[in-house]
Symmetry: C2
């Protein structure tokens, strides 16, 4: 009964996070009449009598997903909820409830958890969702957060990753790369602080990107906007791991290829100046940075007039035949295959 | 922005697990039309067009909730799902889906996670629920599991903790104390193993209680049985922390007291012999042991003929006026106030 040390070992690194969950769950079928969509999208869809329920869950670990040395606990509570709501909006659904579970070691006083829940409350208030469950328990090391977000939508409004068609336009909201560059600035200040704790960092020039990292927002407004504009995306996903990785998800699940134009990628001026300061390539950051929580979706070309000129929306390219693959069309016209360089915790 | 070490500190131990979640969530209200019941019961109840959705979530941490030195990973996967389903059945609802998230350090090979998911699959199969979501990620230490269970019920079938009335009968399913005594046996074998790794433990005489600890079952059959018998409990809860603590939950939320008769507490012969062997008091073990995952419910006295003589159900006592408090009536007739001695992770 005690652990056998001589078992066959396959390193987790070999599969990566997405391969692992796919591998582990490949034998699970759906049996319940109310299970419409299981693993494989941003959220599961359940049918409770006409209206669909949408459920998404996430596990966040200190030292893996967040660093409390620059992440205030209130922001962490806020962000933990927001990143889960983002998955619900990525289904073109409206978030309605969340559950929040927290495990902490005894180094955390009550006030720290109060700060965390104040952030949870602020997110619930702004997005109009109810906290309806959860758990607090002790951990042997650090802080762990588990969130489940629940939403609802009419069946016809739901958008999956799998509906993109050849010639559909690829559209993104907001701008990209900010959250990752905010993290770079915070990491640098942490190193400075270690050497000289008296140093007061001036984060003012970086406030936009630091906020993108510490207090991201989910695009509930876009779900409302698309409804108002009567635009029905054919496929949608939220950008948590980076543009490149999310495009590849859409291509794989929709059986299409993609042309992404480098010169169309929306970048905030702060992202451009900070990538220059850090001697990084801004396109690479937008492609692989992650944590922007913008929405990436495809629409039929006929819908283009409805979104044309909208400052929230940028057309990045178009979907192609599957055999053409997924490529970045660089400013000089060269075609570079897209790779999933998104964040991978293993 | 960096952590201030001189903040006011209130020790978490002061509040305990239940007080803490109550304290932290006291300012959250319910706003969504679909939020029927939030924090404070075994599961949250959501209304999606007539049929109610029931959601429950749990976070399990290695070294706090389980010990891998005697808990095989397949059993752990099975148990993690089952203990969550138990919360759904405790609402008199039928479990329909689960989400399972897992964080592991790099000491776990793929095969270990496969074992874990084999247990998840076995539980899903036996209870007829679909796995519809989840996450795998790395941890900095040990294994962490987060489960959300979802169920459905007609509004009239749902049973809360708050509906018990004075003079209602208190009923429990199965027998109590087995899971805790199973744990004692496993802990003892672990100590023996440390001293002499060649020793092969003979667990045969303890097989019932070891199975109660390693492979507990949730009482889906009882929800079906109550429906068949046309018995509608006035209040219900599952026994995760021990009989005493669960009775106090029912009393508090229903505003009643309770008389629990010591001589009625159902005990398996293995529990009786093992408590004697360990020089423990079997009543104390049933009251405080926990992890039995039996259902504890109250019914109107008029319903008694429907359950009389059923081998699955034992009447333990009855509810009283609130002012009379909650007491154990010992075999010699003395009244002993019940205390929550259940498991508390802080």
């Amino acid at each position: 009964m005690l652990e056998d040390k001589n078992q066959a070992r396959t390193a987790l690194e070999k599969l990566g996070e997405i391969g692992l969950i796919k591998h582990l769950t490949k034998n699970f079928g759906l049996k319940q009449k109310s299970s419409i969509k299981g693993i494989g999208d941003d959220a599961a869809v359940l049918d409770f009598n006409g209206k669909k329920a949408v459920i998404s869950t996430d596990l966040l670990i200190e030292g893996v997903h967040f660093d409390l040395s620059y992440m205030p606990l209130k922001h962490l509570g806020y962000k933990s909820v927001v990143v889960n709501l983002s998955d619900i909006y990525a289904m073109n659904a409206m978030a309605t409830q969340v559950t929040v579970s927290l495990a902490v070691s005894n180094r955390f006083p009550l006030e720290a958890l109060e700060d965390f829940y104040a952030g949870v409350a602020a997110a619930c208030e702004l997005y109009g969702v109810d906290l309806v469950g959860g758990d607090t328990t002790s951990s042997t090391k650090g802080m762990l957060i588990s969130i489940t977000a629940i939403g609802e939508a009419n069946e016809n409004d739901l958008v999956y990753r799998s509906g993109a068609k050849e010639n559909d336009l690829l559209v993104v909201t907001g701008d990209l790369g900010g959250a990752y560059m905010g993290l770079q600035v915070l990491e640098r200040e942490k190193e400075v602080f270690k050497v000289n704790p008296q140093n007061q960092p001036d984060l003012e020039p970086y406030s936009y990107i630091v906020e993108r990292q510490l207090k991201p927002e989910a695009r509930k407004d876009i779900v409302e906007l698309l409804k108002k504009l009567e635009v029905h995306p054919t496929a949608m996903i939220d950008i948590s791991d980076g543009l490149s990785s999310e495009i590849l998800h859409l291509c794989e699940q929709s059986n299409v290829g993609c042309h992404l134009y480098e010169d169309k990628i929306p970048l905030d001026p702060t992202v451009i100046s900070t990538t220059e300061e850090f001697k990084m390539d801004s396109t690479m950051i937008a492609l692989s940075g992650g944590e922007d929580y913008e929405l990436l979706f495809t629409i039929d070309q006929k819908e283009f007039p409805k979104i044309k000129g909208n400052p929230n929306l940028t057309v990045l390219g178009h979907m192609t035949e599957k055999n053409m693959g997924a490529h970045l069309i660089a400013r000089d016209g060269t075609k570079i295959p897209l790779k999933a360089q998104g964040w991978n915790s293993f």
